[in-house]
Amino acid sequence: MIAVVTIFILAIFVGLEVISKVPMTLHTPLMSATNAIHGVVLVGGILVLGQAHSVGGIVIGVLAVLFGTLNVVGGFVVTDRMLEMFKSKRGKR
């Protein structure tokens, strides 16, 4: 268990360090990207649905996988659309 706590705390420190000098224009895309990344909870949803052996478990699992997939896919698509516009504008300049 101590190894698990170690991993979590190190991840928090990396998260604090990795975002420091972000220009204002990137705040919105960055928020959207981190939003997509926490969709990694879909991993948990797959584990739940994969091991579901009751009706209740299946219902919970299906909802968790659906929510998680929407979070991941929608999040990445929206972020990419935002960044695409930045890129083309900067390119023309």
């Binding site: 705390i9 997509a36 990344i37 879909l42 991993v43 948990g44 797959i46 052996h53 996988v65």
Partner: protein, 482 residues
């Protein structure tokens, strides 16, 4: 392959995913590499998801020979794989379709909605683990309860934020008498139920009560926050969902969740604080500003009793056509009315008439920091016409006409001198120093900070009331006549 080796392989997959997420966030710190960074994050996510399909916890009931693994169990596991594939396909199609279709102006509420779904998924996982872990360790029961609370709050809070931005709910702060008391009571209830679950009675009824109380707390926490502060709220809830996903990692002993969740929990918090700094407000002020102390700073005495000058669109068009230099200040109202294309059209017409046109973009203009740049980019506004606060402020005294479109607090002169104003100290665009200011606004209602704006009553200010989109396209039409 035996299960231990498979477990190692899955964990190597999670390690690669974690490295991908970290590298991706680093790349997103700079505009040049941001888009590639997002792709790296996608790649990391794909690795994590594929690895999970081979997770020993699932695979063992398919190939294993241990106790309880029989043909029924195998059949159910195969059915579960089919379900996973089907649901993910549906979710992916839905996610791609809505992500592509969504208007750029509606991005903030889209992020809110997606974030809420993530929080909901965490709460569901916590619920499942609570039911199916008969004898949890202390750490597991604590993290299950915490991820359930934070996940549900993030779910309901994000839905309220979505409702406010989508204008299904009123954007103004919703407050009522005794609100503080209700919130404190809810908080005590959640804490009490959580303690009961962790230390005394792990009963499903108590857990259900905890979920309901957390959902209500999420609603009542976000309701009193105004629409303009929703970006900060969404960013904070984003961090919440990250934390709860990380906590779910403790429950499932899963490194992908631990690292992905921990990263987002921490970076989301930093981002939230950066947004608050840009608005010169504290996080506490954003979250609890409207509760309790109602803000009431009237216009100063010299302006008391003055009425704003209302102009027609034709009058505004005459003013614009007689100018040599025009600065357009787009704001929240323009984003709401989705008027960026009309604004671009009008600007093109003014330029064709030989008038110099610039855009002044306040750091927090729009609905999120940087949102206005995205909107103007979408409407193909030339990048070199965009001016930032520090560049444009010295130019205002030489500007003939400033056209403020749906901006309010970012052009309020009170921020410069009125120490009692809640926006005191926020850097503003000094539009009041221009020769004439035209303000396109729906009504005289104060902005989301709830502050009166003396700019609207100044002698050199004229107001054109109405929806920004309609107003601007009418002005463009009227320009033809002059």
């Amino acid at each position: 392959m035996n299960l231990a080796a498979l477990s190692d392989l899955v964990n190597v997959g999670y390690l690669l995913a974690a490295i991908g997420f970290i590298v991706a966030l680093k790349m997103m710190n700079s505009p040049a590499t941001a888009r590639k960074g997002n792709w790296v994050a996608m790649g990391g996510m794909a690795v994590a998801l594929i690895a999970t399909l081979f997770h020993p916890d699932i695979v063992q009931s398919l190939t294993g020979t241990g106790a309880g693994v029989d043909d029924v169990m195998r059949g159910e596991t195969i059915r579960n794989y089919v379900l996973i594939a089907a649901v993910m396909l549906i979710g992916a199609v839905g996610g791609i379709a809505s992500g592509r279709k969504i208007q750029m102006t509606a991005i903030p509420q889209m992020v809110a909605l997606l974030n809420g779904l993530g929080g909901g998924a965490v709460a569901l996982i916590a619920l499942y683990e609570f039911i199916n872990t008969p004898d949890p360790s202390r750490v597991q029961s604590v993290t299950t309860v915490l991820s359930a609370i934070i996940g549900s709050m993030s779910f309901s809070g994000s839905l309220i934020a979505f409702g406010k931005l989508q204008e299904l709910l009123p954007g103004r702060p919703i407050t009522f008498k005794g609100q503080q008391g209700v919130n404190i009571l809810l908080f005590v209830m959640v804490a009490g139920l959580a303690a009961a679950l962790m230390f005394f009675a792990a009963s499903p009824a108590v857990f259900a009560g905890l979920l309901v109380a957390s959902l209500v707390l999420g609603v009542s926490g976000v309701l009193p926050i105004g629409g303009a502060d929703m970006p900060v709220v969404i960013s904070l809830l984003n961090s919440f969902t990250g934390c709860s996903a990380g906590l779910a990692g403790f429950v499932l002993l899963n490194t992908a969740l631990l690292i992905g969740g921990g990263l987002v929990g921490a970076s989301g918090l930093i981002l939230t604080l950066l947004m608050c700094t840009a608005m010169n407000r504290s996080l506490g002020n954003v979250l609890f500003g409207a509760v309790g102390a109602a803000i009431s700073t009237g216009p100063n005495a010299a302006l008391a009793g003055k009425q704003p000058k209302a102009y027609s669109v034709e009058d505004a068009a005459i003013l614009l056509s007689n100018a040599n230099s025009v600065v357009i200040v787009p704001g929240y109202g323009m984003a709401v009315a989705q008027a960026q294309h009309q604004v671009k059209e009008m600007a093109a017409k003014l330029q064709a008439m030989g008038i110099d046109v610039k855009y002044a973009v306040h750091p927090v203009a729009g609905r999120m920091p940087g949102h206005m740049n995205v909107l103007l980019a979408e409407a193909d506004v030339p990048y070199e016409q965009l001016y930032e606060l520090e560049q444009i402020n010295p130019l205002f005294p030489e500007t003939d006409v400033v056209l403020v479109i749906g901006a309010n607090d970012v052009v309020n002169p009170a921020a410069r001198y009125d120490k009692t104003s809640p926006i005191y100290g926020m850097p503003i665009l000094d539009v009041d120093k221009a020769r004439t200011v035209i303000v396109s606004k729906r009504s005289m209602n104060p902005g989301f900070a709830g502050v009166e704006n003396e700019l609207f009553l100044n002698d050199n200010t004229v107001m054109v009331f109405g929806n920004a989109k309609t107003t601007i396209s009418k002005i463009t039409g009227a320009l033809d006549s002059y």
